[in-house]
Symmetry: C2
């Protein structure tokens, strides 16, 4: 429907001038669509989401056919088995994309919400009112379900979105976006509300990142290299989502059964995700008793242990940890372990080696819990629960476009509200300044 998705062009065939003007055109259309979208009511956005879900369900075969083209090409891109698995769209996965859109439809409309208000002594009523950010440029890698999620979250928040997916999922993403655009046409949303970048030329990203007048925020989701590139080139704000080197600290007062369950769940529930634990800190006073127990639970899950000298002494299967191990996001069956003399030492270690993402403590002591919650400088600090809960869905945001490791604008899971701004609306009865 929009020219942005008419064809998946060959990178080499596009001259830099053509590419620049293509990107400018996409961005200009997005900006125009965002102006319309900002005034669209919640019912229209929800009708679009519902119709999109319906079209995804009704067109499972077409999506599967497009997906087959991507799966066929996967070996050429050198995808690992796990990556191919993430790329695959089964009927169950298509159903779950559709359900995701319906869940986003069920969220309250954020636009127009009065976030704060004051009545001034002179009678002025000042309302701080939620508005969309404008245009979101979303750069992501090869999971095609992210295409629908991101489009839905951005649009629910009243933003137009420019989607730049990985080339590995190009056909699948295009099939999904065409259905979302068809739904937009049928339900009266602006046709450029959701655009998919049609070229896989890497330089396109650079062109978009230099259009701050049209694009209000860039959100890269993928490896650290991608995020660093976007952060350094972008002329507009960026919501960054760096790595998750998450910790579980087991305090001397911890319930050992609870601690063991939380460590194993944080590490093993899903190893390849950003909120999985990568490091275990144990209070020295309980190391003798607790470390062998937790170690055998981790070993039973085939997790490799890298410990400090004390750990290696207590757990024969552990190998010596390096400084790099303490800084690493393993995203796999490895964990670094360290004994600490105090909660303060644990906090210091986390603030130094961690990535300010998610860190948990297991403790029965109130003052210790408060100290940890106050002093650990992370997007989420968890007391007596798994690190795996730092997630938009688990936090009740309905959906998320990523987990920000920034402090500016958005921190932690970014849902619909994190994709909004505000304006002040001031109501007077003729007031002037004296």
């Amino acid at each position: 429907m929009s020219i942005a998705s008419e064809k998946i062009s060959d990178a080499s065939a596009t001259s830099q001038d053509d590419l620049a003007s293509y990107c400018q055109d996409v961005a200009r259309r997005a900006k125009a669509a965002s102006r319309v979208l900002a005034q669209v009511d919640g019912a229209a956005k929800n009708a679009w989401l519902a119709r999109s879900a319906e079209l995804l369900r009704n067109n499972g075969d077409a999506i599967a056919a497009a997906n087959a083209l991507d799966l066929e090409a996967a070996p050429d891109y050198g995808l690992t088995e796990a990556q191919v698995d993430r790329l695959r769209l089964t009927p169950d996965r298509i159903e779950s994309i559709a359900v995701g859109l319906e869940q986003i439809a069920s969220l309250a409309d954020p636009i127009g919400q009065v976030i704060d208000s004051t009545v001034r002594p002179n009678g002025l009523r000042i309302l701080k009112t939620r508005v969309p950010l404008g245009v979101v440029f979303f750069i992501y890698e090869s999971r095609p379900n992210v295409t629908a999620d991101a489009a839905a979250i951005c649009t629910k928040a009243g933003n137009a979105v420019i989607l730049r997916g990985g080339k590995e999922a190009a056909h699948s993403s295009r099939a999904i976006v065409e259905l979302l655009q068809k739904a937009a046409q049928e339900t009266g949303l602006p046709e450029d509300a959701v655009q998919l970048v049609s070229t896989t030329d890497r330089d396109a990203v650079g062109h978009f990142l230099h259009l701050p007048e049209q694009i209000d925020v860039a959100i890269p989701r993928g490896g650290e290299g991608l995020i660093r590139r976007v952060a350094s080139e972008a002329q507009m704000p960026v919501i960054k989502h760096y790595d998750g080197n998450c910790h579980v600290y087991v305090d001397a007062s911890a319930d050992f059964d609870m601690a063991c369950e939380i460590v194993v769940n944080s590490k093993c529930h899903r190893m390849g995700v950003c909120n999985a634990a990568e490091s275990l800190l144990v209070h020295a006073d309980v190391a003798n008793e607790f470390l062998p127990v937790v170690a055998s639970a981790l070993l039973a899950n085939e997790v490799e242990l890298r410990g400090d000298p004390r750990t290696c002494e207590l757990v024969p299967q552990a190998v010596a940890a390096t400084d790099d191990d303490y800084g690493a996001e393993f995203l796999g069956p490895k964990i670094s372990i360290k004994t600490v003399a105090s909660t303060s030492e644990a906090i210091e270690h986390i603030n130094q080696y961690g990535s300010h993402h998610t860190d948990a403590i297991v403790t029965k002591d109130l003052a210790t819990a408060e100290q940890f919650a106050n002093e650990v400088d992370s997007a989420a600090v968890v007391v007596n629960a798994s690190t795996r809960f730092n997630d938009g869905g688990e936090f009740g945001l309905g959906a998320e476009i990523g987990i920000s490791t920034d402090k500016f604008h958005a921190r932690g899971p970014c849902g619909v509200e994190e994709l909004t701004s505000y304006k002040y609306v001031v109501h007077g009865t003729g007031q002037i300044r004296g």
Copy 2:
């Protein structure tokens, strides 16, 4: 007290290597101070503010002596009379700086405030808790009172601040910062909570802007050139404060007396400020009746009128407006005027020519007021009051460090809360993900 303010060095005497390492040292100290400051309670911050106010009052002579050095040097810097006036610190102005600090002390402490909370079906209690941003790098021009204001707002929000003031006010700013630092020492705040950059070398700004690990946000306040430079060089987020091309739109249903008062107040109350009106839009249906009235009120205030053909027809003193006039922030006794056929045309004109700062409507019609408030894309939209109210003090924020024309993180007046972030604190009883 801190080496950062020990001497105002000569730019030419500093090699680039020395300068880089000086800037790194200042930033590192600020980061360390910010970690301490984040844990300081409100009483300590307020004690510092109160003692700072006291020291400013008790050391009026020393401040005046430092200020005299700046005033003496002013002709060398080619300052205009108005600029010299803004530079001057009279006893009244010193008193008002002290009162400003006391007002900031009287504000509620923002840190630790629970902004939002949810209890999840699994019993997890999720608290969204306000925390400081960290380190603020504040770059400003020649008004020395801004030195104290900015330091107070940043510190109240739990941030360390690196102040980079204009060379024209270097001695005055140094005198003020030395007193703030003395108060910090006496009241137990970290000594590097407030640092003044001691070199006037322009390259220092560039060095600081490349330290994103230490500095969490850069806030430039001054001319557009400064802000564009900072925005383009900074490797950390920037709160930008571009120009204010503010409008007053007088709808056909407006009360003419009210409209005339609001136009004159918006334009003439203080002409050199960002929330002064620069443009007047009048509904064509009432142009015949209203334009001559408002024109003579503006002319009585010696405001030059630049109008469209209809305005020039109705007001002989008006000269023809150019497109540039409609885009201009005059900051002086000039106003552009245009008649419009509808509220939609007024909104379109404002969104195209305005600067998304502050725009007002005068109307009696509810639907028109709502349309204007919804569709004008500005930080503040004012219904039936002067544009001059878009100000941190007037909005009840207590104080402001600037008025953001961005949509990201902070929009409109930036007070203490706009200098904060948040973290999620999750309380569980052993929950794990299934």
